[in-house]
């Protein structure tokens, strides 16, 4: 029973990682860039939803929608201003720009909201009692997991069935050829950023709700972990990001419970290194042989 409850908390944490990792993996798959500002978009989503809930008195679902809209706009603006001019630049230049954007968002948040942590309300109260009270599952864990699964399925369907999704896959495979087929590459990449940022907003709400605090730096560590999760599952693969996020959350929860809280992150990262050495393309990543 104790094991099960740890497992459930791991799945709940992992679902949040998975949501962030889905955004990471989409942006990486299509724009081929590591968007280090993604974690900070989560933080912005957290603040926007907090304001919507506390200052404007909106219900939770409306606050989530407001946060999604705000983050979508933010994501598209960041892409247009900072990343689009660098489309043909070396990948390191884009990486540094992403880091600059990340610093910018963190420090703007610090100026606007002060660096002190703010308390974040638990968005869904109550829990489910099973086996005569031996095992309790909080509703928030259930909702987090369900939302994550729904997002994963929706994204998979979107990329495999819809016209825009097909365009995205075409762009990710070959930008030049996609352009020749009449696909608007810039619009497709903007769209990817919009989706990724909207997911980041949802992830932000669940993340802050499980931490119950919110700071300008809230997003950075989960951002790094989600990036790890995306690589773990095979970067560019949507089911891979989901699986990687869940596994990362479970490993972290188990390491905290059974080994040590002090080195739980070290264990998570050590598992990552071992997995990458055995499967260099990640769990579900495709191994692409090089053509000479």
């Amino acid at each position: 029973m104790v094991f099960l409850s740890y497992l459930i908390s791991g799945i709940s944490l992992g679902s949040v990682y998975a949501m962030i990792a889905l955004g990471y993996t989409m942006v990486y798959g299509i724009a081929k860039m590591l968007n280090f500002a993604h974690g900070d978009v989560i933080m912005v989503g957290g603040y926007v939803s907090l304001i919507a809930m506390t200052s404007w008195g909106l219900p939770v679902w409306a606050a989530v929608v407001v946060a999604m809209v705000a983050c979508t706009v933010l994501g598209v603006v960041i892409e247009g201003l900072a990343y689009r001019p660098l489309r043909s630049a070396p990948s390191l230049a884009v990486l540094i720009t992403a880091i600059g954007v990340s610093y910018f968002l963190q420090n703007s948040a610090q100026l606007i909201f002060s660096p002190n942590p703010k308390s974040y309300p638990v968005i869904i109260n109550g829990s489910l009692s099973l086996f005569g009270g031996k095992l309790t599952i909080s509703y928030i864990s259930l909702v987090t997991f369900l939302v994550c699964v729904i997002i994963m399925i929706a994204l998979t369907l979107f990329t495999s069935r819809s016209k825009m999704g097909k365009a995205m896959r075409a762009v990710s495979e070959d930008k030049g050829a996609a352009q020749l087929m009449g696909i608007n590459v810039n619009r497709t990449i903007s769209m990817t950023f919009a989706i990724g940022s909207a997911l980041a907003a949802v992830a932000g709400v669940f993340l802050c709700s499980s931490y119950t605090t919110l700071m300008p730096t809230t997003g950075s560590m989960p951002g790094i972990k989600a990036f790890t999760a995306a690589v773990f599952g095979g970067i560019g693969s949507i089911p891979g990001a989901f699986l990687g996020g869940l596994l990362l959350g479970i490993i972290e929860a188990m390491a905290k419970a059974y080994i040590s809280t002090n080195i739980s992150n070290a264990i998570v990262f050590a598992v990552l290194i071992v997995v990458l050495l055995v499967r260099p393309a990640g769990l579900l990543g495709k191994y692409v042989p090089e053509k000479v």
């Binding site: 990486y28 590591l34 280090f36 900072a82 001019p85 660098l86 043909s88 630049a89 070396p90 390191l92 230049a93 990486l95 540094i96 720009t97 880091i99 600059g100 954007v101 610093y103 910018f104 963190q106 420090n107 703007s108 610090q110 100026l111 950075s220 790094i224 990036f227 790890t228 690589v231 970067i235 080994i259 040590s260 809280t261 002090n262 080195i263 992150n265 070290a266 990262f269 050590a270 990552l272 290194i273 990458l276 050495l277 260099p280 090089e290 000479v292």
Partner: protein, 361 residues
């Protein structure tokens, strides 16, 4: 003049780099001795030396070897803490602080090199962003592992506890009377005697330059750069990939360890969280802004970007915001094709002049 022209252009650039660093040192040192520098700037001198060495060494991995590393601060951390342990435990044996500092730097470089080998052998098989993520993971692992270390020294020698479960404390070391605590777990190293000096920092920069520049201009250096430019072509002409990759990676980590030891012994206390992901990124920013593979560029950008946040102190809360904006604008200005075209339209002569130079040469 004709004699000067017969020397290779790269040799001239290397020469200019050495001379530039020496002149800068002489000027700053004279100003410092005259008391013309502000207190905050004098305090920045040794960290600047460390960051310069870090930037040069990371440039070896990122610019010359062409592999993205996001955990360079991890090697700095290994060097810093092993250097501190060495310096503190030799306090009674070697009274001269300069000698102790040099030993600490060597010890720091040695342990960081070992860490470099351990990480490098398995990891250099990976490519591109996967290598980046593993180095990032390594940096985070080192941070947490050092957080769990409790180290002290007494007349019986070193006492080390690995406090993985959070159950041990300082008293479990059972130090004899007169023993000294060195690292206290999450509190980091405290009560360190700050023995770093600007002169040693300058010498470390010069040694780093000699090592890195000679490596780049040597046969091995050309092999490393061939790997960067075209791995498959390099392999096909018989270049041993693992050997040269590992060589560059280990030298880079050893230099980072040396810089770490210098850095660690500049402060009376040091926490392992100082060497986090952000520090690795900070150094990567120096390298990219200075130009990949460009050693003097790394030096200049490390110096300017360390001073810049201090110089912006007048803006208080806005300084990091300004730093971020400057970073984005510089990247846009140097890499965006539109802006490049615009600059060329305004100053068309620059490019023609360069071409004429090349023709003359």
């Amino acid at each position: 003049m004709s004699k000067l022209k017969s020397i290779k252009k790269t040799t001239l650039v290397d020469f200019a780099t050495y001379i530039g660093v020496i002149i800068a040192f002489i000027i700053v040192n004279t100003l410092k001795n005259d008391g013309a520098l502000t207190r905050s700037f004098t305090g920045q001198l040794i960290p600047i030396c460390c960051y310069v060495v870090m930037a040069i060494s990371l440039n070896l991995t990122v610019g010359v070897l062409g592999e993205l590393s996001l955990g360079h601060a991890g090697f700095m951390s290994v060097g810093a803490f092993s250097g501190i342990i060495a310096a503190m435990s030799l306090q009674t044996v070697i009274p001269s602080p300069v000698l102790r500092l040099i030993i600490a730097i060597i010890v720091g470089a040695f342990f960081a090199a070992i860490a470099g080998v351990i990480i490098g052998i398995p990891v250099l098989r990976l490519r591109g962003d996967y290598l980046a993520i593993v180095t990032l993971a390594f940096g985070e692992i080192i941070k947490e592992v050092i957080n769990c270390l409790i180290v002290g020294v007494d007349s019986n020698g070193l006492h080390v506890i690995f406090n993985a479960f959070g159950s041990k404390s300082v008293s479990d070391l059972n130090l004899l009377e007169g023993g000294v605590m060195i690292i206290k777990g999450a509190q980091g190293a405290t009560g360190v005697k700050a023995i770093s000096t600007f002169t040693v920092g300058f010498i470390l920069i010069m040694i780093t330059l000699v090592i890195v520049l000679n490596l780049i201009r040597s046969r091995s250096g050309r092999a490393i750069m061939a790997l960067r430019d075209n791995r498959i072509a390099a392999e096909s002409v018989g270049i041993n990939i693992t050997k040269y990759k590992l060589m560059a990676f280990v030298i880079s980590s050893a230099l980072a360890g040396a810089a770490g030891a210098l850095y660690g012994l500049n402060f009376s206390s040091l926490m392992s969280s100082k060497f986090n992901f952000n520090t690795s990124i900070l150094i990567l920013v120096y390298v990219v802004l200075g130009g990949l593979g460009n050693i003097w560029g790394s030096i200049i950008s490390a110096v300017i970007l360390t001073i810049l946040p201090e110089a912006l102190r007048g803006f208080e809360d806005y300084r990091m915001l300004i730093y971020a904006i400057v970073l984005i604008l510089v990247m846009l200005a140097t890499n965006s094709p539109q802006i490049k075209n615009l600059v060329e339209k305004i100053i068309p002569r620059r490019k023609k002049g360069e071409e004429a130079d090349e023709e003359a040469a």
